[in-house]
Symmetry: C2
Subunit: 457 residues, 2 copies
C-alpha cells in the first residue's frame, strides 16, 4: 500500500493557515457586529422613551413631561454620540480590516444615520407643536425601525451558529420591546385624548399579539438563563398591573371618557416593564459579546496549534511516521463503486496529528460541523418565519384569532403527517401575496379564502 | 407637513458609499473565484485523461498508451502550473484585498493542493506498476473530487444571482463529466481485463444514472445557449456511437470474453464525448467571467453615480428642492396601525434623485432586489437537491428505477397538491438516513421501506 513520500507543499500549508485566518477575521467582524448591536439596543431604548414622553408632551400641549422630555433628549444625544463614535472607530477609520464586507449591514447603517440626522429637526417640530402626536410617533417609529434593521442585518450575516441564535433571540426581543413601546404610545394617545375608540382598541390588541409573536421566537432561540429572566419579568408586579390596566382599557366603551391622569399611571407601568425588558436586553448583549469573543480566542488558539504542528513537522529531530496519503485514504470517496474499505487495511497506530493531511482533514471536519449547525439554525428560523406569515394570512383571510390560526395549522400538519412549516408554505402559496415563500405549484383560481378554509378545515 | 432642513450627515454619506464599495469588493472576489473555476476545470480535464490513459497502461502492463501517457502527464503538469500560479498571484501575494474571506473555499484549495503534491508520487507508483488500475483510478478520483469541491465552494459563496446560477450549472456539468470519466475508466478496466461481470455492469448503469442526475441540474440552471450546445453534443455521432457501445457492453453475458482491442475504441468514443463536454465547459467558464466582470463594472458605475450626485448636492449653485424627510416618508412603515397614506399628501414633483435619502432608498431597493433573486436561486437549488436525494432513497429502499422513483414522487405531489420538494422532504424524513434535510416530525417506527411504499403508493 503506497505511502506519501512527497514533501509538504508550502502552498497547501499556506492555504490551510489562510483558511483559519479567514475564520478568525470573520469572527472578529462578528464581535464588531455584536458591539454595534449593543450600542443600538441602548440608543433604541432612549428613543423609545423620548417617543413616549414627547407624545404626552404634545397631547398635553406642553403641560406634562416638559422637564422629563429635556432630560430624555439629553440621554438620547449621549447614546447617539456613543453609537456614532463606535461606527467611526470601527468602520470609517481607514486600514481597519475587520470592517464588514457586508453591503446590507452598511446600507442599513447609512439609513439609520440619515434618520438620526433628522432627529434634531423632529425635536424642533415637537417643541413648536408643529407635528401631531401621531406624526411625531410615526417619525420616531421610522427611526427606530431603521435601527432595528441594523440589528437584523447583523444577525443575518453571523457565521457562527451559537452567536446567530443569540442574535436572532435578541433581535426578536428588541422587536417585541418596540411593539410594547408602540402599545405604550397608543395607550398614551388614548388616555391623554381621554377616549378609546374601536380602532384604538383593535390596534392595542394587535400590538399585544405582535409582542407575543416576537417573544415566541425569542424564547425559541434564547438560552435558559434568558428565558427564566423573562418569566420573572412577565410574572412581576409591573407586568401584572399593566395586564390589569390593559383589561380596563379593553373594557372601555366606544369613546367612554377616562381621567387623563391615568395616562401617567399607564405610562409608568408600561415603562417599568419596558425598562425591565431593556435590562434583559443588556444581559443578552453582554453574553453575545462574551460568546463571540470566546469564538475568536478559540480560533486563534487553533491557528497557534496549526503553526506549532507544522513547525514540529519541519524540525530536524522530527521523524515523520508513515503518513496516510490523501490520494490513498480509503475514507476519501474515490472511484464510484470501488470498495475502498478493502482496498487499504487500517494503518496500525496511525497518528492523526502527525501530517499536514491530518491538519487539513481536521479542519475539514471542523468546517463541516460548523456549517451543519448554522444550516440547522437558519432552517429553524426560516420555518418559524413561514409559520408566522401563514398564521397572519389565516387570521386576515379567515378572521381567525392567532391561537385559532395556529391550532388549525397544527391539526392539519398532524393529519397529513407534515411539518408545520410545510403546511405554512402551502398556505402562503394559496394566500398568494407571499408566494415568494413558496414558488407556488397550486394553480388554484378560486378565491384564496375558500381554498384556505378547505385547506385547514 | 415637515420637511428635512438638516444638512447631510457626512457619516450617512460615507456609509452609503462604503456599502457600494463593499458590493464592488464582493463582486471582485467573485470574478476571482470564476477565474479560479476556469483553471480548475482545465486541470480536472487533464487529470481525467491521465487517469484513463494510466488505466490502460497499467492493465496492459505498459504495452499500451505508454507514449500517450508521458505526453498527457506533461499536459497535466502545465495545467497544474497555471493553477498554482493563479493561486499565488491571487491569494498569497500580500496586501491583495480581493482575497476571499471564505474559510471553506480556502480550505478546499489547501486540500486540493495537498493532493496535487502527491500526484508525482502516484505517477511513480504507476510507472513501476506498484498500484493496481483500481488503486490508481481511485487515487485520481480523490484528487479530482477535491478539485471539484473547490468549484462547489466557489458556487456556494457567490453573492450574485445570475453568477450563482451559472456556477451551479457549471459545477453540475463538471460533475456529470467526472461521472462520464469514471464510466470511461470502468469500461477501460472491463475491456482491458477482457471481462464484464455483474458488478461492473451495475456500476456502469449507475454512473450513467449519476450523469443524468447532474445533467438535469445543469439544464435547470444553465442558459439556453448552453442547453442547445448540450443537445448538439448528445445528438452528435460520438455520443450515439458511445450509446451503441454501451448497449453492446450491457448485452455481454457474465464474464463473456471480448477483444481487448475494443478498449481503445471505447476509450476514444468516451473521450470524444468528454472532450466535447470540456469545450462546452470552457464556453460556460468564459461566460461566467464575462458576466461577473460586467457586474463589477455596473457596481462601479453606480458608485460613480453616487459620487456625482453627492457632489451636485454640495455644489453652491445647487438649489435643494424640498426633500422628503425619511422620518416623515409615508412609504416608510412607522407606528403600527397609523394610516400613513393619509398622514402625508404625495409631494408635487418630488424628484427622486435629489437627496441623500433618495440615494439611500434606491440602494435599499437594489439590495432588496438582489437578495430576493439570490434567495430564489438558492431555494431552487436546495429543493432540487432534496428531490435528488429522495429519489435515491426510493430507488434503494423500494428498488425502483430512477424514472419510477421520480414519477411516483410527482404523482404523490399532484395528489396532495404539494410541491415536489415537500414530498421529497417527507420521504427523506421517513428514509431517516437523511433526516438532516427534514427535521422529521414523523415518529414512525415501522421499517422505512414499508412506510415509504405507503407514502407514494
Amino acid at each position: 500500500m503506497p505511502r506519501s513520500s512527497s514533501t509538504h507543499s508550502d502552498d497547501a500549508e499556506k492555504f490551510l493557515l489562510a483558511a483559519k485566518r479567514a475564520e478568525i477575521q470573520a469572527l472578529e467582524r462578528l464581535v464588531g457586529s455584536c458591539e454595534l448591536v449593543t450600542t443600538v439596543s441602548d440608543l433604541v431604548h432612549q428613543l423609545q422613551r423620548e417617543r413616549g414622553i414627547s407624545n404626552i408632551y404634545l397631547v398635553s400641549t406642553g403641560f406634562r413631561f416638559s422637564a422629563q422630555r429635556q432630560e430624555q433628549i439629553q440621554n438620547g444625544r449621549d447614546s447617539e454620540e456613543v453609537f456614532r463614535r463606535l461606527l467611526h472607530n470601527r468602520y470609517l477609520r481607514s486600514g481597519r480590516d475587520e470592517s464588514p464586507r457586508d453591503m446590507r449591514l452598511l446600507n442599513s447603517i447609512a439609513y439609520s444615520l440619515h434618520g438620526l440626522d433628522e432627529l434634531a429637526n423632529l425635536r424642533l417640530h415637537v417643541d413648536a407643536f408643529e407635528v401631531s402626536a401621531l406624526e411625531s410617533t410615526d417619525a420616531y417609529c421610522r427611526l427606530i425601525a431603521g435601527l432595528l434593521s441594523v440589528v437584523f442585518e447583523a444577525a443575518d450575516v453571523a457565521d457562527d451558529p451559537e452567536v446567530t441564535r443569540l442574535l436572532v433571540a435578541l433581535f426578536n426581543f428588541m422587536q417585541a420591546k418596540e411593539f410594547a413601546g408602540q402599545e405604550r404610545a397608543w395607550g398614551a394617545i388614548g388616555f391623554a385624548g381621554c377616549r378609546f375608540d374601536k380602532k384604538l382598541h383593535g390596534r392595542l390588541a394587535q400590538l399585544q399579539d405582535c409582542q407575543r409573536g416576537s417573544l415566541e421566537l425569542f424564547v425559541e432561540f434564547s438560552g435558559e438563563a434568558e428565558q427564566t429572566r423573562w418569566q420573572t419579568i412577565e410574572g412581576g408586579e409591573a407586568s401584572r398591573d399593566l395586564q390589569r390596566l390593559r383589561q380596563v382599557i379593553a373594557g372601555l366603551k366606544e369613546g367612554e371618557p377616562i381621567a387623563s391622569e391615568i395616562s401617567e399611571v399607564w405610562y409608568d407601568l408600561a415603562t417599568a416593564r419596558i425598562d425591565a425588558m431593556h435590562c434583559l436586553e443588556d444581559a443578552m448583549a453582554a453574553r453575545l459579546l462574551q460568546v463571540s469573543r470566546k469564538r475568536v480566542a478559540e480560533a486563534q488558539s487553533e491557528l497557534g496549534y496549526h503553526y506549532a504542528q507544522l513547525q514540529r513537522m519541519k524540525s530536524t529531530e522530527w521523524t515523520r511516521p508513515p503518513a496516510l496519503a490523501v490520494l490513498f485514504d480509503p475514507e476519501v470517496p474515490g472511484l464510484y463503486g470501488s470498495a475502498p474499505s478493502t482496498a487499504v487495511p487500517p494503518l496500525p497506530g496511525k497518528n492523526l496529528a502527525h501530517s499536514l493531511y491530518d491538519l487539513i482533514r481536521s479542519q475539514v471536519a471542523h468546517i463541516h460541523r460548523v456549517s451543519e449547525e448554522l444550516e440547522k439554525t437558519r432552517r429553524a428560523l426560516t420555518e418559524r418565519k413561514l409559520v408566522e406569515r401563514a398564521k397572519g394570512i389565516l387570521m386576515r383571510s379567515l378572521r381567525l384569532s392567532e391561537e385559532e390560526a395556529y391550532r388549525s395549522m397544527q391539526t392539519r400538519a398532524m393529519e397529513m403527517n407534515l411539518k408545520l412549516a410545510d403546511v405554512a408554505e402551502k398556505i402562503l402559496q394559496i394566500g398568494g401575496r407571499d408566494g415568494s415563500a413558496g414558488g407556488g405549484t397550486s394553480g388554484s383560481v378560486r378565491p384564496a379564502a375558500e381554498t384556505l378554509a378547505e385547506e385547514i378545515r
